[in-house]
Symmetry: C2
């Protein structure tokens, strides 16, 4: 591999000059510039980014830590982050936190020790305090899907309370009065917020929240199925099920279909997230749109703007959910 030294020799200039034309931030005469460029070309020169990083103490890489790499939720987010960052010629280094506190901390350490210029985090197990402290360190961070007052300008998030409210209000407006609720894991902030919104809607319609018809799921299809099984055994009728995400809604609906129930006639469903798949099942799932890919993009743009000083990006950090009405929720029977 040719080095900057080889180029400088071939071009008959100094190392510094070659470096200058690479970074073209200093003035170099057009003539020498061409000499250097053609020398680079002849040698098939490619800068060693590791050496650049060491010398400039910038790695041009940003670390992304998400709970999982798979699933309908994180995939699109990663896609947007990678696209935006690569367009800015930055590298994406990934790590998974698996919703586990020590793994999340490990991931962060891992990424920092790799010299990432910034971190984009979608973490849920570590507490606010940890993140606030992290924020005070040398590596800038931006949080996706989380809101912490003290570092609000670093948060890109969705108003989950509003989403929960919209979903529930939708079935309430159809006349349902007995609702079951399948939540996400309650240690997650978004689970809590969605539930809060659910309760607000209930209150608005003068309905009480029924603890017996509440089931704490795990945001996965299987969790939805389990929840549905449990709910069906409760000795309390309900005509609609509000699910804290689409995956659980799908699992729950599958159980009902299996039992020969007709959906939505016998039981209405609303999901949350608007992941692609449930559009293709029958009935098509009514849900709340979660612009997760937009949020990923915004996090990346934030980094480009504030860490790499790219003046272009316009960054916004709060997103609002909206209802997507399809076929899984209708009027209650009778």
């Amino acid at each position: 591999m040719a080095t900057i030294y080889d180029v400088s020799v071939l071009a008959g200039v100094s190392l510094a000059t070659v470096s200058r034309v690479m970074n073209n931030n200093t003035k170099v005469s057009e003539k020498t510039k061409q000499k250097v460029l053609s020398a680079m070309d002849q040698l098939g020169y490619r800068p060693n980014t590791i050496a650049q990083s060491l010398a400039s103490s910038r790695s041009n890489s940003v670390g992304v830590l998400v709970s999982q790499l798979d699933g309908p939720f994180y995939g699109p987010m990663m896609t947007e982050i990678e696209t935006a960052l690569r367009a800015g010629n930055k590298h994406v280094i990934i790590a998974a936190g698996h919703s586990d506190e020590s793994q999340e901390r490990d991931g962060v350490d891992f990424l920092i020790s790799r010299g990432c210029d910034a971190l984009i985090l979608d973490v849920e197990a570590v507490d606010d305090e940890y993140l606030i402290k992290l924020h005070q360190g040398n590596t800038p961070i931006v949080l996706i899907n989380r809101y912490i007052d003290e570092i609000s300008e670093r948060c890109v998030y969705l108003d989950n309370e509003l989403g929960g409210y919209l979903a529930t209000k939708h079935v309430l407006q159809h006349g349902h009065k007995q609702l079951a609720y399948i939540s996400g894991p309650m240690f997650k902030l978004d689970s809590k917020d969605r539930l809060l919104g659910h309760k607000r809607a209930l209150t608005e319609f003068n309905l009480a929240f029924e603890q017996e018809l509440f089931y704490e799921g795990n945001y996965k299809e299987q969790g939805g199925s389990q929840a549905m099984d449990a709910l069906l055994k409760v000795n309390k009728p309900f005509t609609a099920v509000v699910c804290a995400n689409d995956q659980m809604a799908s699992g729950a609906i599958a159980v009902c279909l299996e039992k020969g129930m007709s959906i939505p006639e016998e039981l209405s469903f609303v999901g949350y997230d608007n992941i692609p798949f449930p559009q293709y099942i029958s009935p098509k799932l009514t849900t709340v749109n979660n612009p997760i890919h937009e949020m990923g993009k915004m996090a990346a743009l934030w980094v480009l703007k504030h860490v790499y000083n790219d003046p272009k990006p316009i960054v916004e950090n709060t997103f609002s959910p909206n209802l997507i009405v399809r076929d899984s929720a209708t009027k209650p029977i009778s």
Copy 2:
């Protein structure tokens, strides 16, 4: 940030000794080792991996280039790769190729210039020749989902022809005689192979391949829907649809359900890949298992073993598909 120098001063030893305890590949007396360790601890020392890379010309990072980051297919693969590599303390740098030749090449260049120690590639647009040449370069590569004879030991792949055969044979054994086939994009090798297997099964049952009942899809839900619409308009009856992947099968089934057809009674379906979601739709999809996550893991282990000389991993590189029988295919209506 404390450097190795600070540690050496505090511990009262030389730089080299500190370096030795970090890499613990050379003998260091227990006593000095402890001194160094405690000095590191006191300083909260973290090695600068960039500097390590430059000095050792190993970046401890492996580049992963996939078509897309999202989707039910690549997510699980990425997860396994990240998990396996991180367990070996290696970093994963990702890039997306979007099934586009120039983007795939860019991605490779990008990853190489970042100093990756190895590349794991799931590419489909670049040709074999390019990959063979790449293989001859300095950065070791391993290919997922692709087989090239000249570099077969670098390929981790699935026998797609066999999978195609199994899927089709399954419906044929149920007595179907008129099959429609929705393929993936024909420029992709796996599409071709699956189709080949399909044709082999047909031949085995003395049936002709009907060009009119063939539709080239795009491996996406929507493509499946379009395909189904088109197929339904063809003036030729069929009782089963073999789909080259689950996503298209789901899209196709959705169209039928929408039209009020009962599946599988009126029309049988088989998919391919065994992605998680279609287990939760009704009817549950009969499909061919594609151990994509295993393949991701194997690619990672290959790198650990051959690039980083970890003696542990046992690597196998060819995988066989197997049929997963669920509810979407049954006997034809006589």
